[in-house]
Amino acid sequence: MAEETKFEPRIVAFLCNWCTYAGADLAGTGRNQYQANVRVIKLPCTGGIDPLFLIKAFERGADGILVSGCHPGDCHYNSGNYHARRRWNVFRPLLEFCGINPERIQFSWVSAAEGGKWVETINGVVDTVRALGPFEGYQKINAVGSDASGEAATSGDTG
């Protein structure tokens, strides 16, 4: 892995179509600048985000993830965000228990009218993750899979 002079966190944002994606559009319309570290993946609803998406994003090298959708009560699909919230209520502590800093997975409610909040949120995530540094734990295990030696991943004592 090339040594970078300055660490720029790589952030993936999973956004719901109706609120946060539209909020991000509004930030664009308002020409509100924010840090460019984020790559957005749009889904109809936060309720449609499977935790596997998040794991895969880490496997593909994300240093931080943002999941963002409609405020409670505002879900375009009535209750999608409520179900999503339940999911994250258990998934987040699970990752934390496995030694993943919960700050690397952040959640927010950003409505279609909150372009400003989108800017604030994404800058917040970028700054937080920048302070945390690269996600070394995952970088290591991502690299092992493509390591020449299968044995590196084999015995119980390769630490």
Binding site: Q33, R39, A112
Partner: protein, 681 residues
């Protein structure tokens, strides 16, 4: 077979190309992306020649997938998908990479925005690679529209739809239709009498064969979807039987509770407990105000049925209908179920509460009134029969000060937006005042005069030049009482002087606000609203009357401040949308729906039938299906999606542990491909 993907990068004039090196995006994509067969850039992809370019290249290059790197998909996804259809390409092989709202407009640094654009394009080409051809879903349409709100917007929309030959159900929560327009005295810029132009429309709506009207009623719930809504209407207990009552007025004439502030008259006039809101009310049949009626108060106190109270029975005694009286104290709320194909929301606005501006004496001094209160004063059918009398002592005011932008354009206290109508109605108010009080003097404090409508500027100039209203550019800092006079302290920024006016009456041009319950109501309908709680249109320019939910349209001030002509125009537009919708027996819907895995025997489906999907589905769109052997025995019970009910949220897909449910358009492979294309490692 692998896809041939074409990438079209839009300059958007300079909107994108000023901060994103679009040529580089196209070049890099072409150079490095093995899936991409063709790339180009174009000044305006959404223009006719842009779309033609897209169509031509699809044909020439034999493209089977298209990514347009341009503005937000919310703007032109539809445009480009339609363009693709004309070449015979299934529209769902066209994806938008949002490099304007997400790159060029928010990242000023060219290399940064360019790199990000390249990434976003790559992610979208990967998704496109996994796009499947989808066919629009056909659903039957219930040929009946619901109009919520009986103001001018609702009435106009209902009439347009009804005249178009479709059934309309109209729901109004007040006792009469008419809304705010019925309250107005005269209307700008023609000064014709509001009642005179409004009442015939109200009557027409009430008598129209295609319109069923529910007044004193509210929406209890709305479920279902475009073409097939199930609506529950709560008919609030009116205490009067609308079928029996003839509106003879005997009851309200005998009612002893006469000092109840009239909502219709904005509190400057009184009404009785059994009342019609105004003489021209439709229906012209009363309602009992159960909060204030002494019979109901007594019944509540004694915890008895209202009809068992004997405190006052004047109205029922006066009712000439026999043998069954038209008044029924024990009447209860009733729920009516209706099937609806499309909905128009026309729930209107409310006026900013006058108490908010304490420094102007709002809510404190009787003679500081709002614009709508002035309308009632000026109205021939108002409490003063059109005579301008100040509320405190009934004197004719000699000097009236009008303050504009009360609440509007004041983010600190009120609303950041312009209420749009106040400049015009204030000008109108000065004229009405001057017409009625010939030697009176009208002063107007304003920030800017905004009169952008047809004949509006001329109207406002007339107020100044012909009617002699004194316009002062500046804000009022304070209004206080000195004896019988109201002292208005303000600034005239044109002369740079402080102005002090001894006024007899002050009229505040209060802002138009969203209804108090707009937020809850939007949630009930699953439609979006903006920061000010006005309902959001689907697109600010291209879909101004569509709400964010398919089949629900917006008309009038529930969407934002507007005047009558604009409201009527929007209502007509919404009605035409509804008519178009109801004109077909079947509707085509976006095929973004969930599907449960089905396979050949012996697997049949990877679904194991735990039905978590069914439990989380907000639309009850998941059914259970028995997969049967030839002898009829059940091999497996699995989930199935009713695509008519499915709205495509994907909740089921994310809940399914074995990923046996997928959402078309956002299926597993598509999302996986997008994540896989991150290439951070």
């Amino acid at each position: 077979m692998s896809k041939k993907i074409g990438v079209f990068v839009c300059h958007c004039g300079t909107n994108i190309s000023a901060t994103v090196d679009v040529e580089k995006v196209a070049e890099e994509t072409k150079k490095n992306n093995p899936r991409v067969a063709y790339t180009t850039t174009y000044k305006y992809m959404c223009s006719d020649p842009g779309q033609k370019l897209l169509r031509d290249k699809i044909k020439e290059e034999g493209l089977t997938g298209v990514v347009v790197a341009a503005c937000s998909p919310k703007m032109h996804e539809h445009t480009f998908r339609n363009a693709a259809v004309k070449t015979g390409l299934n529209p769902y092989h066209v994806e938008i990479s949002n490099i304007r709202e997400q790159c060029s407009w928010v990242h000023p640094d060219i290399p940064t925005g360019t790199d990000k654009s390249i990434d976003l394009v790559r992610m979208m080409t990967e998704k496109t690679r996994k796009d499947k051809s989808l066919t629009a879903i056909k659903v039957p349409v219930t040929k009946r529209a619901l109009v919520i709100g009986g103001g001018i917007a609702g009435i106009q929309a209902a009439l347009d739809i009804a005249d178009g030959g479709q059934e309309v159900v109209m729901v109004e929560r007040e006792a009469s239709i008419g809304g705010h327009m019925a309250q107005l005295s005269e209307t700008f810029p023609t000064l014709d009498c509001s009642q005179c132009i409004m009442t015939p429309k109200m009557v027409e709506a009430a008598q129209h064969d295609n319109i069923t009207m529910y007044t004193w009623s509210e929406i209890e719930s709305i479920t279902g979807y475009l073409g097939n809504f199930d609506v529950k209407i709560r008919k609030k207990a009116r205490s009067v039987d609308l079928d029996l009552c003839t509106g003879c007025s005997s009851c309200w004439q005998v009612c002893p509770c006469k000092k109840i502030k009239s909502e219709f008259d904005m509190g400057i006039g009184n009404r009785t407990a059994i009342y019609i809101p105004f003489p021209q009310a439709i229906p012209s049949k009363p309602v009992i105000d159960r909060e204030n009626c002494i019979l109901f108060k007594d019944a509540r106190k004694k915890n008895i049925k209202p009809n068992d109270s004997k405190v006052c029975r004047k109205c029922i005694d006066a009712c000439p209908i026999a043998p069954v009286k038209a008044i029924d104290y024990n009447q209860e709320d009733e729920i009516v179920d209706v099937k609806i194909g499309a909905i128009i929301v026309a729930t209107g606005f409310r006026e900013l509460e006058d108490g908010l501006y304490g420094e102007y004496g709002g809510g404190k001094y009787e003679d500081v009134i709002t614009g709508l209160q002035f309308e009632r004063l000026a109205s021939a059918s108002g409490p003063t029969e059109g005579k301008i009398k100040r509320p405190s002592d009934g004197k004719e005011p000699e000097i009236v000060v009008f303050i504009q932008c009360v609440g509007s354009r004041d983010p600190a206290k009120g609303c950041s937006y312009c209420s749009k109508t106040c400049c015009m109605y204030t000008a109108k108010h000065t004229m009405l005042y001057k017409h009625k009080v010939h030697d009176g003097h009208a002063f107007v404090f304003y920030i800017d005069i905004r009169c952008a409508g047809k004949s509006y500027e001329e109207f406002s100039q007339r107020a100044i030049e012909e009617e002699g209203a004194t316009y002062l550019r500046g804000r009022v800092s304070r209004v206080y009482k000195k004896g019988e006079k109201l002292i208005v302290l303000g600034a005239d920024t044109l002369t740079g002087s402080v102005v002090e006016i001894e006024a007899d009456m002050v009229v505040l041009a209060s802002a138009m606000k969203a209804q108090d319950d707009a937020e809850q109501f939007a949630q009930k309908l699953s439609i979006q609203y903006d920061k000010d709680k006005f309902f959001s249109e689907m697109h600010p320019k291209l879909k101004p009357v569509e709400s964010s939910s398919a089949g629900i349209f917006l008309a009038g001030t529930c969407q934002g401040p507007k005047d009558i002509p604009e409201t009527v125009a929007q209502a007509g537009a919404a009605a035409s949308k509804v008519l178009a919708l109801l004109s077909s027996d079947e509707l085509e819907r976006e095929p973004v729906v969930a599907r449960v895995d089905r396979q050949l025997p012996p697997v049949f489906s990877t679904c194991i039938g735990c039905f978590y999907c069914q439990k989380v589905c907000p639309y009850s769109a998941i059914e259970s299906e028995d997969i049967k052997a030839r002898d009829g025995s059940v091999i497996k019970t699995v989930a199935r999606v009713n695509e008519g009910l499915c709205q495509g949220c994907g909740l089921c897909a994310a809940t399914c542990r074995s990923k046996s449910v997928e959402l078309e358009g956002f299926n597993d492979e598509q999302i996986y491909a997008e994540i896989n294309a991150l290439e951070f490692n």
